[in-house]
């Protein structure tokens, strides 16, 4: 265990002493982030960027307090640049326009939504509080996952506020009734008041998304384009780092240090473990340095710090799995290098690092699921929009599974090939 750690630390030290590697690990993603940031006008105050004017159709069949409040969120001035909302009264027609790729998502607020949440007169029979809220439907366009994701995040945020209010509000109403402080007939008035309170709290100024849509000096802007570009570039060059690490396994074999390790009282599991740990540590260090640098130099808000750290570690694990499998299949360090570069670019493009996946054909979007880039980028977008660790379960589970599967496969391959012998 200790030796695994020592070997890993040694590899991090070597990677950070290799000037060529440093350029690709740190300088390249940083410079590209700046470059693409300039292109999208991030630094000139121009708010036009890849994530703006997301077309969304709101079908409000509820037409009561909460339904209206949610519809208002989408049309609020704060989100005017980010979203391009349209109203419709026909759910079927709205769904159809998704199928025709005319919008990123449809939000259908069914009739009775408000009533299912805010108790009405006569509802306060014994089991009234147990009424299930009517579900809001977000019909997402699968070809525009990021846009749809943003819409979902807005709806989720709204619902979680309503839910908080509902539980505390409903409970207090029931308590008041039980304690005889209000009569059931007063319940409706209380309920309406509570609903108004939720409404007052729920417009966009209370949404977490606001956190990211305003800069430090309070000036309202859009979802920061860099919040997409910076992780995209970091993730792309993370693939470089893991193949560099994988290559070092074969390089150590060629330069004789691997055989030398094997004749020391260190077993091969410790050695392989140390190499994997080294790749993981180097990748994590790279990501955290890039995240730190962009926060420092661009005031970029990455979002929930815990979420960022867990997501980084999961993404690095998945990428490390790729580094290992490439190494296990390749024969020479230079093969790893060339395959690694190819994969870095392919994953970068297909994983949405340059062009938002929503603008790509469906088969590429399917393919993107095998890249750590797409999943992690999805997670970083969620965080950038104000999501927290809790909202990241899908990308994190996907990344961890990817890492584990690839790692096991590469260990099996290494086992067959044997570390040194022909």
């Amino acid at each position: 265990m200790l030796k695994t750690f020592l070997i890993g630390i040694k590899d991090v030290r070597l990677a950070f002493r290799d000037r060529a590697a440093l350029i690709l690990m740190l300088a390249a993603p940083f410079v590209l982030t700046v470059g693409l940031g300039l292109v999208t006008g991030r630094f000139s105050g121009n708010t036009n960027n890849g994530l703006s004017d997301i077309p969304v159709i709101i079908v409000n069949l509820d037409k009561e307090q909460l339904g209206d409040a949610l519809a208002d969120v989408f049309t609020s001035a704060d989100l005017a640049d980010l979203l391009e909302p349209a109203a419709s009264s026909d759910p079927e027609a709205a769904r159809k326009s998704i199928d025709e790729d005319k919008a990123a998502a449809v939000v259908i607020i069914p009739a009775g939504f408000t009533r299912s949440i805010i108790p009405q007169q006569g509802d306060f029979s014994s089991n009234a509080v147990a009424v299930e809220p009517v579900k809001i439907e977000v019909y997402a366009n699968p070809t525009r996952p990021t846009g749809a994701g943003i819409i979902k995040a807005i709806v989720d945020e709204f619902l979680s506020r309503v839910e908080e209010g509902r539980i505390s509000g409903a409970t207090s109403i029931v308590q008041m009734m039980m304690s005889g402080r209000i009569s059931p007939s007063q319940a409706e008035a209380e309920g309406i008041a509570m609903g108004e309170q939720i409404q007052a709290n729920s417009p966009s100024n209370a949404l977490a998304i606001k956190i990211n849509s305003s800069t430090a000096n309070g000036e309202a802007t859009n979802f920061d384009a860099l919040a997409y570009i910076a992780p995209a570039m970091a993730l792309m060059f993370l693939m470089y780092t893991v193949t560099y690490g994988g290559r070092s396994i074969l390089a150590e074999r060629a330069q004789g240090t691997l055989p030398r390790l094997l004749v020391s009282p260190t077993n091969s599991a410790q050695i392989l473990g140390g190499k994997v740990f080294g790749i993981f540590l180097t990748g994590a260090a790279q990501m955290l340095i890039l995240i730190g640098a962009s926060s420092l130099f661009f005031q970029l808000k990455w979002g929930d710090p815990l979420g960022v750290i867990v997501l980084v570690l999961a993404a690095v694990m998945a990428a490390t799995g790729w580094g290992m499998i490439i190494t296990a299949i390749a024969r020479t360090p230079s093969q790893v290098a060339s395959v690694g570069t190819a994969i870095m670019l392919i994953f970068g493009i297909m994983g949405g690092s340059f062009i938002s996946l929503e603008q790509m054909p469906v088969f590429i979007q399917m393919f993107s699921k095998i890249t750590p880039n797409a999943w992690a980028l999805d997670g970083f977008t969620t965080l950038g929009l104000g999501g927290t660790l809790n909202d990241l379960s899908t990308p994190i589970i996907a990344l961890l599974s990817m890492g584990i599967v690839l790692f096991l496969a590469s260990v099996a391959l290494f086992g067959k090939k044997n570390l040194v012998q022909k």
Partner: protein, 314 residues
Amino acid sequence: MGNILEVQNLAKNYGDFQAVKGVSFNIEEGEIFSLLGPNGAGKTTTISMLSTLYTPTSGDATIGGYSVTKNPMAVRGVIGVVPQDLALYEDLTARENLIFWGQMYNLSGKSLNSRVDEVLEQIGLTDKARNRVKTFSGGMKRRVNIGVGLLHKPRLLFMDEPTVGIDPQSRRSILDTVKDLNKQGMTLLYTTHYMEEAQELSNRVGIIDHGEMIALGTQKELTQQVGQAETLILHVGENDDSEALAASLKGIQGVQQAEATDHEVSIVCAEAEDVLAAVVTKANDRGIKIRSIDIREPNLEAVFLHLTGRALRD
């Protein structure tokens, strides 16, 4: 003293190719044993099996009582290995390399640090300890490569052609280090294709060719085995009559030949020790002062030539 290493019919095939064809030999605790052979003879392959890197195709060896095939981990604690090709991290400093490798040999803390200082001293790189290995000359790298093998004070040290491709000065210092280590009690298995090194260093020599051990023994045993004689060289003064001395020496029993060149008299005999006293007496009788005497044992090059019909180095 007993054998620290016993090799029984060790063989290694690479595919159909037999690189080592069943060699057997022992190394006694405290000796320097040389494995002498030309390029491709199978020296590195043999060392790789003994150091548990390669699994033998057949045969086995025990080191310090542990089998290399059945108990490799125990063997690794007994041996130190200096590989033929440099095996170092060039982007680490000399000191960082030694620290890292020391850790891999389960050293840590203060004892590791002081041991690293000792080894740096021993390989003469204390001043350069904080420079990266990639800035070193070939000879300096070789010395770090040796240093790594010494860290855990192994009982048996394998050195695989440690002087290949370096300048005479570095070579000299490495050979001296080898002798020092041996004086301090370390047993060494030294491979080389330089006959002079095997001659200078070793108590016993194994000559290996095409994967076979073609001769084994002390240098004297090997040379006598092929009927080689020793050469005694007397260095005399400028004004001394070396011709006359040479002529008179021919009469001594055991002297096969005596010849004078400039200020030297070369005497060929079966055993230098047997004739030495008589030679010195004769010189004294003639009033010739002997400045120094060299005994050139018959060389291993000749043995190799005799056994294979080829020169050791082509």
